[in-house]
Symmetry: C2
DNA sequence: GACATTTTGGACAAGCCCGTCCAAAAAACT
DNA sequence: AGTTTTTTGGACGGGCTTGTCCAAAATGTC
């Protein structure tokens, strides 16, 4: 009986190393070329692996794609909540503390490779594979917003902010952070650290103009 | 000598009707499927035209794509500046006037089919055809920002706003407008008018909290 | 060193799609 | 009606890609 290499979630028992190397390379190529523009040979070359090995591990172009998406979304979600944990609950200098927090959020979650990939993928393949992103759609942004909203509400309770609607404030905080970077993000350029800092500073200044407690 | 149908900008003298019908259908399909995922037969079917006719008119898949992009960007730019002309220079009720202006901007320029298409295309094919969007990149957002900034500066001069940096304010105005709609825009959902109005209202309220002249 | 598992590279069939050619039909024009 | 232009549909070659098969090589395990 031919040992069919079942692409289980746990993996057969093949070398994990190759497995992740393939997913990594696939993410890279899929992101650059899109699903339709990618062919397996590109991925094989990028991963330094024979084409057959890819089929052994993942069985199918679409299955591979799904595996990549799962991988990326998980990593992104983890990164976001990790960064949210560094929110300045006891701020010394509200402007400065929120600003560095914003920079962290951008750097770790939005401007990095995974963030770029997810945005691109959701927009280009979102309607073709609705189920693929359904999970992210339901559990991604909404949970981030409410987590951030909770932190902002605490700041309001502590007397630092004046908020009517913490959820709205959270969304607007994130929107302002993106204000100066939208085109760069759209075009996929990378962003210099100073630019990032400047943009976060602008965002937080406006945010506080709107929501800081009037003295 | 075989009359080579040159795909000049002015068109040979073939039926304009077919010409635009093709470009329209192509925009539709390219938007849905991406460049790589589109095949000419889909476009032919959608346009009720034989495949050969498409080749007669536009000669090439890539040329057709470029024509579509040119078409869409032109229409978008025109729409934006048309809408910018309706900016409330003499506001009666600042909140209400800016809010309806924001709604117009969203409806006419960002949430419509062309807006969706351009965003999707820039993100998915932006790096493969850099020259295609170079024009938009240089003349699109920057000019919109400065036009909007000029309008905001006028409001400031008239005593309605307090602005340090009108350009920054313009970017942040646009960012706030998008705050509540980001996911819907990313996923390509259409947005109910009431939702649009509510979101514009939220954005303008926060914008004015930050920038309205302190009484 | 012997055995089991994985990986490799290359060959291969099947399918898809682009772009071309062509002759017949339709439409537009005079 | 007669002529010119455009459109149509179908056939076709060539290229590329996916996924499979297989035997040889590499790698790891006991």
């Amino acid at each position: 009986m031919p040992t069919v290499t079942v692409p289980d979630i746990a993996g057969p028992r093949g070398h994990l190393e190759k497995r992740v190397s393939i997913i990594d390379a696939a993410a890279c190529v899929f992101c650059r070329e899109g699903f339709g523009g990618t062919n397996i040979d590109m991925i094989a070359a990028q991963a330094n692996v024979s084409r057959q090995t890819i089929y052994n591990h993942h069985g199918d172009k679409e299955k591979l794609f799904r595996a990549v998406v799962r991988d990326v979304t998980e990593r992104i979600n983890a990164g976001i909540f990790e960064t949210l944990a560094t929110f300045p609950d006891k701020p010394v200098d509200l402007q400065a503390d929120l600003s560095t927090f914003a920079v962290r959020l951008m750097r770790n979650c939005i401007c990095n490779r995974d963030g770029k990939f997810l945005r691109k993928l959701i927009q280009s393949e979102g309607d073709r594979y609705p189920d693929l992103f359904a999970d992210w759609r339901d559990n991604g942004p909404a949970r981030v917003w409410s987590a951030l909203a909770a932190r902002l509400a605490r700041l309001a309770l502590a007397g630092h902010l004046e908020l009517d609607d913490p959820d709205l404030a959270a969304r607007q905080f994130l929107a302002l952070i993106n204000a100066d970077l939208q085109i760069a993000l759209l075009l996929g350029d990378d962003i210099a650290p100073e630019e990032l800092a400047r943009s976060a500073d602008n965002a937080v200044r406006t945010f506080l103009r709107a929501f800081a407690r009037r003295s």
